[in-house]
Amino acid sequence: MSEYKIRKGKEIAFTISITILTFLGILPLFHIIATVFVNGLPVITKESFTFLTGTFSNGGIGPAIAGTFILIFLSSLIGLPVALLVGVYAYEYPNSIIGKATETLLQIMLEFPTILVGVFAMSIIAIPMGTYSAFAGAFALAIILMPYVAVYTQEAMRQIPFTYREASFGLGLSRIKVIFRILVPLSKRGILTGVLIGMAKVAGETAPLLFTIGGLYESYPVSVTKPVGAVPLLIYTLVQSPSKGNHRMAWGASLILLLIFLLIFIPIRVSLKEVKL
């Protein structure tokens, strides 16, 4: 065989294997979404109002959904201010020792095992408080949320052309005014993206909630210092039981979780070019 043919053959084999491998990598997502829909849709459409708003003995996951929203809200309340400040600091002093260390720390925390954060939150919040609570769970989630928002804030602000900074400083504004009055509003969109991505991630987390929130599925949560439920935690508990009824509810809850996730994720992703993980 001529050398050309060998090379051509390798080229074709390569192209084929690349394509196959890529699709192998992509396939699971579609299969997952399809499976969740196929298994979850019948559960939801059967008695949707009861499922979405009823308590567990009545066949609903309402309290869990409420709990998830409470946790997202509370963890954002705790985590966003800190995250914004840290992100802004990392942007402003990229070359100082503290700045570099901050960036490294943020990257580390991005990938940190979430179970460790959960156990930590349990030992410093749930146990001294003497009770499981939404607050403990939100605290753990805030720790997980923070690096995402901080990194996105930093990146977003980096995108702003330098001229804006120069002009603002040239006008004699103090640093704090430059950052918070001019640059941050300019990078609003990027920061908002980060916030939403963080919230989406945190809505789906299970491990940090295992030992902090306790679970509440018979009644709606009314206090943040009392136990609360969450959709991912409920799914985790239901999957491990042998009853088919519980499995059905788990699929329904998974579909709800998937929908919440997609609802937040797709709009952001469509409007943004590059997502940092």
């Binding site: 003995s57 929203f69 509440l216 599925y217 009644s219 009392k226 136990p227 491990q240 042998p242 469509v270």
Partner: protein
Amino acid sequence: MKKKCYVGIGIATICIVLIIAELHIYIGNEKSVILRTTGATFPQYQIQKWIKVYQQSHPEVKIEYEGGGSGYGQETFLQGLTHIGRTDPPVKEDTWNKFLNTGDQPLQFPVIVGAVVVAFNLPGINELKLSSEALVDIFIGDIEYWDDRSIKSLNPEVNLPHEKIIVIHRSDASGTTAIFTTYLSLISEKWANKIGAGKTVNWPVDNMGRGLAGKGNSGVVAILKQKEGSICYTELSFAIEENLSVAAIQNKNGRFVKPTTETIQSAVSQVSSYIPSPTEGYKEDIKQLLNAAGDNSYPIVAFTHLLVWQNKDRKHYSPEKAKAIKDFLAWILTDGQKEENIAPGYVPLPPDVAQIGLNAVKMIRI
């Protein structure tokens, strides 16, 4: 513009859901008291039935059921993370002292009688007889295949497959395990010496590659249903609810009995159970209902217990919670023991035993 649309839709959905939730909270939770019970999964179906029935007649009380095993139940009770703890075996003295160290008085009493059964998954086979030796040998790992001579000789008409026996046990600290292993220690010196009894034990089958662990009775049963050729120990109610095949095991009199309401009641009636005062719960002996005499008695029978605080100086419960707990427990020990409120797989308490629980309930201070 498009993005604003999406964001708008997202926010609108969230608002709608929140409003619905608010309505529910407002309508449903006006004055509800929320109680929490955590621990043993041995009485799971019974507790859940009681919760369901009680909530129907008492809509202002909501009772949250949490599993986790007897060990978890004792621990969360100690930490004050739950109102009513559930434990199958009576609490040990060490732990009882830890309870006392909180400054409050713990109260323990039995609420229902259940049985630990040996369930198996062999397609096409519904009946199996296991002698005491065979039972021990299977769980200790000495018998490897289903068609082993010792099993076959007891069940000559059954077509046992030449498959390895997969033993499923608990991964968490389990009262069910404690009851089962205490029974095996009672009937077999080999077991008592090699493995012993406890909420968690070392299963030799794990090292042989034939052991699997599940979390809670439900976890164990979930695995059993999926794996052919497996065997496990679990509470009777799980076998009934999940339609599992149950083995007939040898009782003290040498007869092979299957766990049914009659055989369990026979065991309970044969024994004049010694239930200590609720303030001295650790004195109870887990062995008392095990291996009961009587031709028709099922050998692995046990009480399961609840733990509540006396609430000295309102240390653990607010007045309304204490009242709700008293009402609920009193109901469990009276109406709850009536036949229509008993879940399949459980047997009500003898009246004198129920009285002890009622005495404990009287002791709770509002």
